[in-house]
């Protein structure tokens, strides 16, 4: 099945899906075809894993969240009525799961670390998810610039990180982001705008010598 799935990268690197193929897979899973679920996982594992990785800035945590997302999808697929794109429904589950993971990690960090950098306005949980000194064996961005961006985005509060990741890394439309995040188009515009300004300011402050 996976060999005929129309999956390709767009020019800017984002992944796009053939919605008809996805719908067919969903129907087959609902009919009990387990291999269709495997195909669905193969189709979405990369964008979902990347969403989690960018949100959590931790490879293992992203792996765990991605597994959890697909398990949730499998168990609650009967609740998906096709009123939205499957990818929208899937991303909403992924965003919620990431949010829960971030909150859990935040609570854990707050317990474990009494000091550290305080969160600034609009940047709740700043650096709590960021690995300050990743070792050679950890899965991190090898490029210094990308690692800096990763750190900054992961340091944003959840709604701003989600907005900028879905827009600029996952290449979602404003409308689809609004559906995934369950908010208005105006809110999405505002969040993307503010997230970009915050990333810019953070990069200029923390990484003044950063080159594109």
């Amino acid at each position: 099945m996976s060999n005929h799935i129309n999956r390709h990268k767009s020019d800017d690197g984002a992944l796009t899906m053939d919605h008809q193929v996805v719908d067919e897979l969903v129907s087959q899973i609902k009919e009990g075809k387990r291999t269709a679920f495997d195909d669905l996982v193969r189709l979405f594992q990369k964008p979902i894993f990347n969403l989690a990785f960018r949100m959590l800035n931790n490879y293992e945590a992203a792996q765990d969240v991605t597994q959890e997302v697909f398990v949730k999808v499998f168990r609650s697929l009967s609740q998906f009525k096709g009123e939205s794109l499957f990818s929208t429904w899937l991303y909403a589950i992924a965003v919620n799961t990431c949010r829960n993971q971030r909150n859990a990690a935040q609570r854990k960090s707050l317990v474990e670390f009494s000091g550290g950098e305080c969160a600034e306005s609009g940047q709740g949980g700043k650096d709590l998810m960021v690995d300050p000194a990743p070792g050679p064996d950890t899965h991190v961005e090898r490029n210094e610039t990308r690692q800096a961006i990763q750190n900054v985005i992961a340091g944003l509060s959840e709604e701003f990180a989600t907005a900028i990741i879905l827009r600029d890394i996952q290449d979602m439309s404003y409308e689809q982001i609004a559906e995934v995040m369950g908010c208005s188009l105006g809110t999405v515009k505002s969040r993307i705008s503010r997230a970009r300004w915050m990333v810019r300011e953070q990069l200029e402050t923390r990484y003044p010598d950063l080159k594109p």
Binding site: G32, F74, R75, H139, D168, S193, R196, W197, P212
Partner: protein, 343 residues
């Protein structure tokens, strides 16, 4: 367009989300404002940096890990898929069975205890009735039957009256061979409850041997309450003699609230008397509220948040018996009868 607006719209401008009119204004401002041009360049650079982030390859063992989680957590295999549909239904059904089962257990236990208490009280009442009949059978003025057992007594009395009527018919047939007098509804209530109760207590045979007393007009006033003290005062409203006796008790005579209760109940009693026949007054919920309010004023029964509760749900009057402290709901109160017989 000012710099603040340009900064607000900058992100949308980069994404091509501004409508042509605003985009034109936006560009016009940029032509005149070097600061905003620098901001736009910096923002475009930031967006380009973020968009340069490459997709990271997921771990190779992601699929096996998902499978392992599915197997470990309830094994929702494809073949069991229909079970996923029925699971909520089964869960709800199981929950209902559990709730009903527990409810039935406690209800049965509760009813069992109540029945035992009612039977005990019933026995006491019948014994009292027997004594009353033995002491002054024809002149028995009144009695008090308070509690749920009053209903049982009433039913037993009806049954006893019916039995007595049947035996009277049989006796009449055997003696004169004429047609028996029809037992009226009034017969069941009027004049002979004590005798009927005594018959029930004595047994059908002995009761049948007792000669029938002449039918006397009577009033059965059924009032919903659980408060025995209140019933006692209700009785006083009917029974002048006993009221005179109770006059010695200052707390009853000095209370203005007593007068209110008496006035309400005596009014009903007067109406009942005037009808000169058996009347059973079953207080409606609204009337019950009034009665409860009166009793509350009197202090013999305390009604918890009476006005508020009844305003929201008239059928859910919650009262607390001042004597027992037990919470009582109107649904219970309406089935609790006080039978006052006035000749």
């Amino acid at each position: 367009m000012n710099c603040k607006t340009v900064r607000t719209w900058m992100s949308e401008y980069i994404d091509g989300m501004l409508d042509p009119e605003h985009a034109t204004s936006f560009r016009a401002h940029l032509d005149e404002c070097p600061a905003c041009r620098r901001d736009l360049a910096a923002m475009e650079k930031t967006v380009a940096l973020v968009r340069s982030m490459k997709l990271v390859a997921p771990p190779a063992d992601l699929m096996p890990s998902v499978h392992a989680r599915l197997e470990a957590g309830g094994k929702p295999r494809a073949s069991l898929w229909p079970m996923k549909v029925f699971q909520p239904v089964l869960a709800i059904a199981a929950g209902l069975v559990l709730v009903v089962g527990i409810g039935a257990y406690f209800l049965r236990a509760d009813l069992s205890v109540k029945l035992q208490k009612a039977e005990a009280r019933h026995s006491v009442h019948i014994q009292k009735s027997q004594r009353a009949v033995a002491e002054k059978p024809p002149e028995a003025k009144a009695r008090i039957l308070a509690g749920k057992d009053a209903v049982q007594v009433l039913r037993l009395e009806e049954k006893a009256v019916a039995l007595r009527s049947q035996k009277a018919v049989a006796t009449a047939r055997a003696g004169a061979g004429g047609s028996p007098p029809a037992a009226t509804a009034a017969d069941k209530f009027a004049g002979r409850p004590e005798r009927a109760a005594a018959e029930v207590a004595d047994g059908a045979g002995k009761g049948a041997a007792r000669p029938s007393a002449p039918v006397q007009p009577a009033v059965n006033l059924t009032i919903a309450t659980t408060n025995r003290a209140a019933v006692e005062q209700v009785l006083l409203a009917f029974d002048v003699k006993r009221r005179e006796e109770k006059k010695q008790q200052a707390e009853l005579q000095s209370s203005a609230a007593d007068a209110q209760v008496f006035a309400v109940l005596a009014q009903n009693a007067t109406l009942a008397r005037k009808s000169n026949q058996a009347i059973v007054i079953i207080l409606a919920a609204s009337q019950l509220q009034d009665l409860l309010a009166q009793l509350k004023l009197q202090g013999t029964i305390s009604v918890a948040d009476h006005a508020r509760e009844t305003a929201q749900a008239p059928s859910k009057i919650k009262a607390a018996d001042s004597m027992s402290g037990a919470a009582v709901e109107s649904s219970d109160l309406l089935t609790v009868h006080v039978i006052i017989t006035v000749p």
